[in-house]
């Protein structure tokens, strides 16, 4: 299997006034195409930082990040923006949908930046929101809002789907539904799409192909899971 993501001695240093803080410290890492990856670690470990660097939302202090064979660590703003538009889907703990657009408009938004054909309706059907197409976000429940943002992320079929605590604000039942959707995105396109999920829930490790544990800005361990479970097989 080819590596879709490769981090080479990546460091991220935040400066607050005089003080420097190493959020990521010399991290090297490889992630293969088509995997479902779970990142675990205590609060403040650097998980979000890691995810944001992979997604081109932030730039490294030192080191290299190679995505699909391209070095994005020295991209400029514009290049990074196009890179995100073409390759990355994001899902956050808070749903990040625009309050003034309807459900379907929120998904169709993607058409403004992606050349690929995008079928918003189909994406919303696949997350079970076909009933709510013309509602506004504030007329939806939290889980439904999160599904809108998932529909938006998967509607363009991104090479990499990055999720930062996607179930953090949901009850466990809705959380499981969301997780299923994410897992499906990974398996449906015959091993082309990679999904990375940051979570505090250690149970996620059971369904992952690869589990990465982060602590104090360093990679503590990378475990390959020989027999990842289906979402329904896990007792939550």
């Amino acid at each position: 299997m080819r590596d879709i993501i490769e981090l080479n001695t990546v460091s991220k240093i935040y400066k607050t006034g005089e003080k420097e803080y190493r959020a990521l410290d010399n991290v090297s890492l490889k992630i293969s195409k088509g995997e479902f990856v779970v990142i675990l670690g205590p609060s403040g470990a650097g998980k979000s930082t890691l995810l944001n660097l992979i997604g081109g939302m932030d730039s490294v202090t030192s080191g290299k990040i190679i995505i699909d064979g391209k070095d994005i660590s020295d991209y400029n703003e514009q290049q990074l923006t196009d890179f995100r538009a073409e390759n990355i889907g994001f899902i956050f703990q808070f749903y990040n949908i625009l309050p003034t657009l309807t459900v379907i408009e929120n998904v169709e938004l993607v058409k403004e930046v992606v050349k690929k054909q995008v079928d918003a309706k189909k994406a919303l059907e696949s997350v079970g929101l076909e009933e709510h197409l013309n509602k506004f976000p504030n007329q939806l429940s939290g889980g439904e809002q999160q599904r809108v943002s998932i529909a938006r992320a998967i509607s363009k079929n991104p090479k990499i789907l990055l999720c930062d605590e996607p179930t953090g604000a949901l009850d466990s039942k809705t959380g499981i539904e969301v997780l299923k959707l994410l897992k499906m995105q990974c398996s449906k396109s015959s091993g082309e799409n990679t999904v990375i999920v940051v979570t505090h829930n250690a149970l996620f490790a059971e369904i992952a192909d690869t589990v990465i544990r982060v602590k104090n800005g360093r990679i503590e361990s990378v475990t390959q899971n020989q027999n990842p479970k289906m979402v329904d097989e896990v007792t939550w």
Binding site: F83, A85, T100, L101, E105, E112, N134
Partner: protein, 762 residues
């Protein structure tokens, strides 16, 4: 701890606080500057009149004797009375000059304000000269003047450089609306110096000082009874000098009222919305403070203190700087053509009250907006504030709306969500546009006034004012060399029903060298069967075409009846006009007092039987130089309008930008390029600017119209004229302001830090 929060809040909401500060400051600054100017004029004049004992009553006649004077002095309520002989002459030392020469016996009424030299003394030889005139012609105490009067010349040394309270406004003629103090001025001498001897002085004025204003009307009647030979008895309300200065204040009051009112209004609106937003943004924090157990009162106080302290500092600074910068500059400007010793700004309790009110309003609004939040339970405050459903979220997926792109839809909904902010934006930009157009319109109108009065109505090159009692010979000499184009001004009193009014009739025999305009500014041919009144006079005295007015010449008891056969318009003189033929038909003798000619008279030094020769070009020059001063004021208004526009547009832009940071960050994450987001963001502001310009252009015209048509003094009737270029300046200026601000704002999108913005779900 809370103190720390105050400082942090101010730091993080810098631009909002700067806005509040600037808006309160600018509002108070302009308001207090302008009112200190107006009050300074009013107080300055009053003080000057009081200290120098300006006469209460002017008695005009042709030969007042010592007995006449004594009779007046003996009247009840009369404090003092003095005689004055005023004649027109010239001074050889000053090129093309006309001098008003006054001979007096004493100087207890309208006492000189001595700038250099000595006080008046009947036994002193020498001349006291108008200080403005002296300064413009570089004359000093000790210089010798060659005074020419009635074809005689005599030399006098200057013994005093003075001002006189009855010469505050003193133009050579009514045509010279704005005196230049170059070729015309006044001088005073002791009657002992009268060329034909003191005992031969023919006094034509008596100045009367009365003990109490209340007794003026009564005393005027008494004087009328004792003096047979009085031609006119007027008081301060009808004196040109006093009245013109009062009119200046009155006019100023209206147009500066319009400007500073609009300014204050916009500033306040903008402060109120900003403060309201600021508190709403702090919802979460209010919730936390409540959850921690802070009393509502304490929290409210915290937020009110933001508004209070900031507006207090801004208000005080405004009240201090406004008078110094705006007020005194304006006062110094008007002192270039009104002759007064000094004018100082006056800050009255009204200014402080208005400032206190503004600070109060800011504090109350802050309190009201946080009270709304405080009413809710802490737990709800901590939740995300959801946009209101219903009307705000317009469904745009039907009909033509379906075709709208994402950015149009998004902008329409965003406008619907924040209607107040949008309306504020429209008001702010509209006012900015209107102020600029109005300011340029004022300039256009003043320039147009020159064309109207001095090119349309005056169709002559020279006007010769004839001396009183000129001989037939000198009259015939003049008209045979320069043409028989003349006019006479009759001082009359007219009556319609029971109302009496003093005015003048111009009797026209100028053969087209004087022209008249109708209400549309088209030229008017005068008919010979009645009288014409000016439109403004018709309005103020309620006269209609077809009405009959009865009138008599002052000093005569014969009454005549005349029918009004038309209205004419005149920018600066509201009176009655008739042709000589009509006068003849009534059997009244015609005694011309002005001769008009197109012959070049620039080389004529002296003409027997004349009082003054005026050149139209030099009148125009005088008015134009005055317009220069006005321009400075107008430029200040435009400057203020632009600052106002920038601050409002920027402030609203920042507000909406801050609100949308989270959405922009989301778009950025999705891969929208900064430029594209900028375009979406700017769209709204372009709409607002477009609407504002559409509203601002007619509003600007209307403001100018209001100022000239409604607000000016009774005898001014200027038609507001706004050139196409002024509209263009206003519109282009507004658009430029709006684009600069938009450009700055859209550059800010680049600086949005996605990671940080998305961490906090605002």
């Amino acid at each position: 701890m809370l103190k720390k929060k105050v400082f942090r809040d101010i730091k993080f909401n810098k631009s909002q606080f700067v806005t509040i500060f600037l808006m309160v400051f600018l509002g108070v600054f302009i308001y207090s500057g302008i009112s200190s100017y107006m009050d300074g004029m009013k107080n300055g004049a009053q003080k000057y009149y009081d200290e120098n004992n300006l006469q209460d009553v002017w008695v005009v006649g042709s030969n007042f004797t010592k007995e006449d004077l004594e009779q007046i002095r003996e009247l009840d309520n009369v404090n003092a009375a003095e005689r004055k002989l005023t004649v027109m002459g010239s001074i050889d030392n000053i090129k093309d000059s006309t001098a008003q020469i006054n001979f007096i016996e004493s100087n207890d009424i309208s006492k000189f304000h001595v700038i250099d030299g000595i006080k008046f003394d009947k036994n002193e030889q020498g001349v006291w000269i108008d200080s403005y005139w002296a300064e413009n012609n570089n004359l000093k105490v000790g210089d010798t003047l060659t005074i020419r009067y009635n074809e005689k010349t005599f030399d006098q040394k200057i013994v005093g450089i003075i001002l006189s309270p009855d010469h505050v406004y003193d133009p050579k003629s009514e045509a010279e609306l704005f005196p230049t103090h170059m070729d015309y001025g006044f001088i005073y001498l002791s009657v002992n110096e009268f060329v034909f001897g003191a005992e031969n002085a023919i006094y034509n004025y008596i100045l009367v000082d009365i003990d109490n204003v209340k007794n003026i009307d009564e005393t005027k009647l008494n004087i009328e009874n004792v003096l047979e030979n009085a031609v006119a008895i007027t008081d301060r309300t009808h004196d040109l000098s006093v009245k013109r200065f009062e009119d200046e204040i009155e006019e100023g009051n209206t147009y500066t009222g319009v400007f500073s009112g609009i300014f204050l209004f916009i500033a306040m609106l903008s402060v109120v919305t900003t403060m309201n937003r600021l508190v709403r943004k702090q919802r979460g924090e209010i919730g936390i403070l409540k959850a921690l157990g802070f009393r509502n009162k304490k929290i409210a106080l915290l937020y009110v203190s933001y508004g209070f302290w900031i507006s207090l500092c801004a208000g005080i600074l405004g009240v201090i700087l406004g008078p110094i910068i705006v007020g005194q500059i304006f006062l110094n400007m008007i002192l270039t053509y009104y002759e007064m010793p000094e004018l100082l700004v006056v800050v009255t309790w009204k200014t402080w009250l208005v400032s206190a009110l503004i600070i109060g309003v800011v504090s109350i609004v802050t309190y009201l907006s946080c009270r709304n939040e405080l009413k809710e339970k802490a737990i709800y405050l901590l939740k995300i504030e959801e946009p209101k459903t219903g009307k705000t979220n317009v469904s745009l997926d039907k009909g033509i709306f379906k075709k709208f792109g994402f950015s149009t839809k998004w902008n329409i909904r965003d406008i619907m969500r924040s209607r107040i902010r949008t309306i504020m934006g429209v008001i702010g930009v509209t006012s900015c546009c209107a102020l600029i157009i109005c300011a340029f319109g004022i300039l256009n109108t003043l320039n147009d006034y020159i064309d109207w009065q001095l090119k349309d109505l005056y169709n002559f090159e020279y006007r010769i004012a004839l001396e009183e009692g000129y001989t037939d010979k000198s009259f015939n000499d003049i008209v045979s060399s320069y043409g028989n184009n003349t006019s006479q001004t009759l001082n009359i009193e007219f009556k319609k029903e029971d109302k009496k009014e003093i005015n003048t009739i111009t009797v026209d025999d100028a053969n087209g060298l004087l022209r008249y305009t109708d209400e549309n500014r088209n030229f008017l041919e005068l008919e010979n069967n009645g009288i014409y009144v000016t439109r403004k006079l018709a309005e103020t005295s309620d006269l209609k075409v077809g009405d009959t007015v009865t009138w008599h010449i002052l000093g005569s008891d014969t009454w005549y009846s005349s029918q009004i056969i038309g209205f004419n318009t005149n920018p600066q003189n509201q009176n009655i006009t008739m042709t000589k033929k009509y006068l003849d038909s009534m059997g009244i003798e015609y005694n011309p007092d002005k001769v008009y000619t197109n012959t070049d008279l620039s080389n004529i030094k002296e003409l027997s039987g004349t009082e003054a020769i005026q050149n139209r070009e030099s009148i125009i020059d005088g008015v134009e130089s005055m317009l220069e001063t006005m321009k400075t004021m107008v430029i200040m208004i435009i400057f203020a309008a632009i600052i106002l526009g920038i601050v409002i547009v920027y402030n609203l832009g920042i507000l909406s930008f801050v609100e949308k940071t989270y959405q922009f960050a989301t778009l950025k994450v999705l891969g929208f390029q900064t430029k594209k987001i900028g375009k979406i963001f700017i769209k709204q502001n372009i709409w607002i600017t477009f609407i504002a310009v559409l509203l601002g252009a007619p509003l600007g015209y209307y403001m100018a119209y209001f100022i000239f048509r409604m607000a000016m003094a009774d005898d001014i009737d200027m038609m507001a004229k706004v050139n196409v270029s002024s509209y263009l300046y206003g519109i282009v200026g507004t658009i430029v302001v709006s684009f600069i601000v938009n450009y700055i704002l859209s550059r800010k999108i680049k600086t949005i830090n996605m990671v940080e913005s998305l961490k906090a779900n605002e």
